[in-house]
């Protein structure tokens, strides 16, 4: 039996890796991967703690919804990034900054 604390540690580590990728990567697709890391950290938490909520299965249910929504969000974001690429021939968010004060 793996203690719950281990799940929480792994998910916290995943979340931090994801956040680091989001903040440091200079490629929109790498940022999307970072977002995916953060989502999976949360999903892991939900599934691990679903153990205490056997009747309603809230955590498991939430995990399923989150996976589906993450897929949808990635599909939309990839389409948008593709669109950016056709105009700029580049997907580095630090370079693409026509809109600013």
């Amino acid at each position: 039996m793996i203690p719950l604390a281990h799940f929480m540690l792994i998910s916290a580590a995943l979340f931090c890796i994801g956040l680091y990728a989001v903040l440091s990567k200079r490629n929109a697709i790498m940022i999307l991967i970072g977002i995916e890391f953060m989502l999976n950290a949360a999903i892991l938490n939900f599934v691990a703690f679903g153990k205490y909520d056997k009747l309603h299965m809230g955590g498991q249910l939430f995990a399923l919804f989150a996976i589906v929504l993450a897929a949808a969000a990635v599909a939309v974001s990839l389409a948008i990034i593709l669109n950016v690429y056709t105009y700029y021939k580049n997907i580095d968010p630090t370079v693409i900054d026509q809109l600013r004060d």
């Binding site: 939900f46 703690f49 205490y52």
Partner: protein, 499 residues
Amino acid sequence: MNEFTSVLPELIKNITTGMPHFLPEIVLIITFIVVILTDLFYPGKKSVHTYILVLTGIVISAFFTILQYQSSVNGISVFNDTLKIDRIGIIFKLLFSAVVILYALFIKGNTRMQNHTKGIGDLYMLLPGALLGLNLMAMASSLLMVYLSIEMVSLVSYLMVGYVSDGEKQSEAAMKYALFGGVCSAIMLYGMSLLYAFTGTLSLSDPQFMIRLAEMPQSVAAIAIILVLVGIGFKLAFVPLHFWSPDVYEGAPIPVTAFLSTGPKMAGFAVLIRFMEPFHTASNTSQGTPVFDFVAILSVIAISSMIVGNFAAIWQNNMKRMLAYSSIGHTGLILMAIIVNSNDGIKAMLFYLMMYSIANMAAFMIAGKIEERTGIINISSYKGLGKVYPLEMVCFVIILMSLTGLPPLAGFMGKVLIFSAAIESYSASNSLWMLSLLIVAALTTVVSLFYYFKIPLNAFLRQSDEVFIVKVKRDALSYISLILTLLLILWGIMPGLLI
């Protein structure tokens, strides 16, 4: 499996009894499906059939929402406490319906979008989906529903911003919006997973939620709550999370900007109220220290939103950027009404949101019309436009006066209501936060005069060097914005019609 058999009948009964209360949303779902099929097989010229179907569906759903109003005095929980239907939620839902209908009319009147090569049908198709997400946001009373509805609205908004991409700026705005939104929703999801880990329940109205959260160390609970607030704050665009809003507002097509500055923002307030509800009931019943000090953190956010929004707006020359920053300032002011947390505060907030959404919609309609006809997007180029577009510019000035909060317009009444609710709360509690909020709100209202009045100054008092050779033709949008302006005046003189 056997452990579930005892509860299954009850769960199913919960779902079947909940269905009648879900009627407005069911209508929207049916509209959504029908609209997809119509747009594929029988769109008509410029998707006119799609347009009519969307409007009909939204009106029918709004009609069913009105019918709910009578039966929901005390609030009804349906679907195992996932949704809560009460008076505030229903008022929000009606507001959303009105905003989406105005948005559809705006798209219909915008020739640039109508003549786009991709066609406009897909954009109409998104409207019932957007309204469904907004309605769910207003009713959400479990963490799952909060996340689902926020994501629903976000996905639709990303698509709207990127949809008619005919330039570099627009695709850039869509990318910034989608990436920033994705990060914020991931952070919010992590916060929710922590809350679930601490409490073992997803329902916000479950008493266990607050009891178990109060047992956690205060700092740990605070981290989880702040992570959830990040996601809500992205929708509201309050200060630490406002970076996306000026860029997205500038890059998006004008009707989409008008929608983003009204619909999702109001829904963000609805979700914030829903999320804070259990904390307030808990602090009212038990004596000990509150689980989380919403007043302090929201006050800091509101004060910085008002200051950043209003002062940054002064330096803007682009019309849409200016309205974006001013809407950040308005967010701060409306947050003040939420911090007050009394019946008066909620009433004041609803009145102000109504005024704000109407004024913002009308302002963007006129700005869009001028951009379309003359290509002017900067405030400094508005010189002399007052003589070219007399009706539109007079309406524009009245709308901006209402946003500033000058009598006798609805904006003035809204500000009076918020300020009086705040003053009442200050005299009752003597809280230092309330006092500083009041002072900052009063000061920034004066500051807002400077940037709002740049437009009438340029349009009416300054002469332009170039002569406009534009054919002035009033269309449906001019008259819609005229009606909205008249509504602002009417509600300013007779606020009793609403409160």
